[in-house]
């Protein structure tokens, strides 16, 4: 099981990538920051970084404004 944003749960399977988790969550935000077990994951690695079982997965949608 992968815990997303301390709230949602995604079934884990071997080889599941960051991209797979985002797709499973239906997250298609254009600007999103990801960490897995407190490690920042760049979009360059969304298709290659495999998420471990029981991972703490954070997906933060970045908003305009400052």
């Amino acid at each position: 099981m992968i815990i997303v944003n301390n709230r949602d749960k995604i079934e884990w399977h071997k080889g599941i990538t960051v991209r797979d988790v985002l797709n499973a969550m239906g997250y298609d935000f254009p600007v999103i920051a990801i960490s897995v077990n407190n490690e920042y994951i760049s979009p360059d690695d969304f298709d290659s970084f495999t998420v471990p079982d029981s991972a703490d997965f954070k997906a933060i949608h970045i908003m305009h404004g400052g």
């Binding site: 600007v31 407190n38 920042y40 760049s42 933060i60 908003m63 400052g66």
Partner: protein, 203 residues
């Protein structure tokens, strides 16, 4: 040095000695950056690295830490003047330029912590990506969702590794911006930075 300064006589015990030796970078000196910088100056930070390409306009005065007499000045210069009027011993490094990701290591490499204070989500993210790749151990405190009015209880801090997101994660700039809410989030960013410099603990 700072602990001899009466400005900080009412600071929390021990914080002045720590903060005066620390460096914070602020990327963007608008609503978030200007208010965060002033909070950090009043807290006793030793050195600030400020970067912004923009100039003060009258429409900034509803939320940014500027005054009518600042209109037309570079934001970094106007903000530096206000900080010097609080404590002229704070070391200031000013960069009046449009930050590109490749500038981040050169300009903010000395900083213990970076505060993100841009307007556009894409620019915020470009900063996040570059900072995290370049400095994976250093915190970056991001303003994320500060538009609209009220709804104070929806403002929070979310930690994601070295990233700390301050705001409501949902309001967008097209809703308009209110002085109080912008300043709350800016001060949340400054408050998180101070806590991390003082040793962390639960945010």
């Amino acid at each position: 040095m700072f602990h001899h300064n009466k400005i900080y006589a009412r600071n929390v015990a021990g914080m002045t000695d720590i903060l005066e030796s620390r460096i914070i970078g602020i990327a963007g000196c608008g609503g978030l950056g200007s208010n965060a910088a002033i909070a950090l100056a009043r807290a006793g930070i030793g050195r600030l690295i400020l970067a912004d390409y923009d100039y003060v306009e009258e429409s900034n005065l509803n939320r940014q830490y500027f005054f009518k007499f600042d209109v037309g000045k570079a934001k970094v210069d106007a903000l530096a003047d206000h900080i010097r009027h609080i404590n002229s011993d704070i070391m200031l490094e000013l960069h009046n330029l449009k930050l590109e990701p490749d500038d981040i290591p050169r300009i903010f490499g000395d900083a213990d912590i970076l505060i993100e204070a841009f307007d556009r989500a894409e620019a915020k993210f470009a900063l996040i990506d570059r900072w995290c790749k370049e400095f994976p151990q250093k915190p970056l405190i991001v303003g994320n969702g500060l538009s609209g009015c009220g709804h104070t209880n929806e403002l929070k801090v979310v930690k994601a590794g070295q990233l700390y997101f301050c705001g409501d994660e949902k309001t967008d700039i097209e809703m308009g911006l209110c002085s109080a809410r912008v300043a709350i989030v800016a001060n949340m960013q400054a408050n998180v930075a101070i806590q991390l410099l003082l040793g962390g603990g639960k945010i």
